[in-house]
């Protein structure tokens, strides 16, 4: 184990190096660029034994790692914003194909107008592709989540996307600890697929189906995405036993004692929210922070279990569902808590779009406004 002082992108690239990845294809895009550069440098310097394919686009990057995964390689790519949108078609391919791809998505606003800064619109737009999506809020959490992502993806054969906020996390320098090779081997054994495309195997992948075959594939994928939630928590617990590091389960819960206002958010905003909770608590407002770590599968039951009867949920979305009150988290929360609509009041806003600065004082102001709304 060594201690590193580096950026979120460095933590990501180091985790990929340490995870014994066989094949990487990536196309540079702000604010992900350093990930693609660092991994290429590790391989060029001979400190990482993998093949790196410099591709001409994100669509090709996703296609290449999907194909490499089908021949049995442990694979990785990283992207952001428009790059993720360009991969969209292949995201469906990979999830439907049950290929354990791992990708880092450095959350960035989508065009137009052109914008480079933190925003979750890119990731939430991929909600319905069948990918597991995790959100990390610190460089340590990125490093640990990449290792966890490979373990989860390979066990349940569903691709995993690790999200972290552009610049706010990707370019922030923080100390983080890596993991010794023997401990990584214990946690993440070499990838041993049950099948791989190979001339001697003689099988094919992704054949044409009629509805009677197609439906079982879709039903099994949605069932397995749902049950991947428990697997994520189990793998996080295993990681904690091995390293002592724990970033939260489905949620990173902050000061839930006697709380009546739960402030739900994702990514770096969830960490800043802890300071907002402190501000509100100083005023005697019983607030708590819920930083969602597992966006897909959305933990409906677990969210409900965190909220006692008579409490209020205040949702902070860093994305928009156009024409609705706020974003995807508000919609998911309302759906999750519909059966308890007489017990729990919900309010939501979209903030921080395009990297809008979100100091704790602003988040506390927004929370106070929403508290007035739910009290009506």
């Amino acid at each position: 184990m060594s201690k590193v002082f580096g950026s979120g992108n460095t933590a990501c690239a180091m985790a990929v190096k340490d995870a014994d990845v066989d094949f990487v294809a990536a196309y540079p895009i702000t604010p992900q660029t350093a990930v693609a550069e660092k991994i290429a440098a590790y391989i060029a310097q001979g400190i990482m034994d993998a093949n790196y394919l410099p591709v001409e686009s994100e669509h090709s990057a996703a296609s290449a790692i999907a194909a490499a995964s089908a021949v049995g390689a442990r694979v990785f790519t990283a992207t952001a914003s428009q790059g993720l949108l360009y991969m969209h078609e292949i995201l469906h391919y990979a999830a439907g194909g049950r290929l354990p791809l791992v990708m880092a998505n450095v959350n960035r606003a989508v065009n137009m107008p052109w914008c480079l800064y933190a925003d979750h619109q890119d990731a939430v737009s991929q909600r319905d592709t069948g990918w597991i999506q995790l959100f990390a809020a610190s460089n340590q959490e990125i490093y640990d989540s990449i290792l966890l992502a490979f373990k989860v993806a390979e066990e349940v054969q569903i691709p995993v996307m690790i999200n972290y906020d552009g610049f706010l996390v990707s370019h922030s320098m923080m100390p983080f600890e890596t993991l010794d090779e023997n401990k990584i081997k214990e946690y993440l054994p070499p990838y041993d697929p049950s099948w791989r495309l190979h001339p001697q195997w003689g099988g094919t992948f992704g054949n044409v189906t009629f509805s009677e075959q197609y439906v079982p594939y879709r039903e099994s994928l949605t069932r397995d995405v749902k049950r991947a939630g428990e697997l994520i928590i189990r793998c996080a617990r295993e990681f904690e036993e091995l390293t002592g590091r724990w970033h939260g389960g489905y949620f990173d819960v902050y000061r839930p004692e006697d709380a009546s206002f739960f402030l739900l958010s994702m990514g770096s905003m969830g960490k800043e929210m802890e300071l907002a909770v402190d501000l509100l608590r100083q005023e005697g407002i019983p607030a708590a922070g819920l930083r969602l770590r597992v966006f897909c599968p959305f933990p409906k039951e677990e969210l409900s279990a965190l909220l006692p009867t008579g409490t209020n949920l205040l949702v902070f979305d860093r994305n928009l569902v156009y024409g609705s009150a706020a974003g995807v988290l508000l919609q998911e929360s309302r759906a999750a808590l519909y059966d308890r609509r007489d017990e729990i009041r919900i309010a939501g806003i979209s903030v921080g779009l395009g990297g809008e600065d979100l100091p704790a004082s602003l988040l506390a102001d927004k929370a106070r406004e929403m508290i007035q709304e739910v009290k009506k």
Binding site: E154, E155, S194, W195, G202
Partner: protein, 85 residues
């Protein structure tokens, strides 16, 4: 890995789509007097229903597509309507 995971992979087995000979609406007839044994028909047959040794056609799997008749340089194969017996 969980073996219950449904994956879109397929392994070849003989007759996985049924016996393709049942699809046939016309059958190839080889005129051995015109055939020079170039094996173009054997090469092109998608069902591998033509024998390399004697150009004998296996009608259990010949689906009557007619590719062999089109490709034959000597026009030694003609397609005739399949009669239901």
């Amino acid at each position: 890995m969980d073996k219950k995971i449904v994956q879109p992979i397929s392994r070849p087995v003989q007759g996985a789509c049924g016996v393709t000979g049942t699809w046939r609406s016309q059958r190839p007839i080889l005129d051995t007097s015109l055939c020079n044994g170039c094996l173009i028909c054997w090469l092109y047959c998608p069902e591998a229903a033509i024998s390399r040794e004697d150009r004998d056609i296996d009608f259990t799997y010949c689906k009557g597509c007619g590719i062999c008749a089109v490709e034959c340089g000597k026009k030694a194969i003609r397609m005739v309507k399949e009669e239901i017996k």
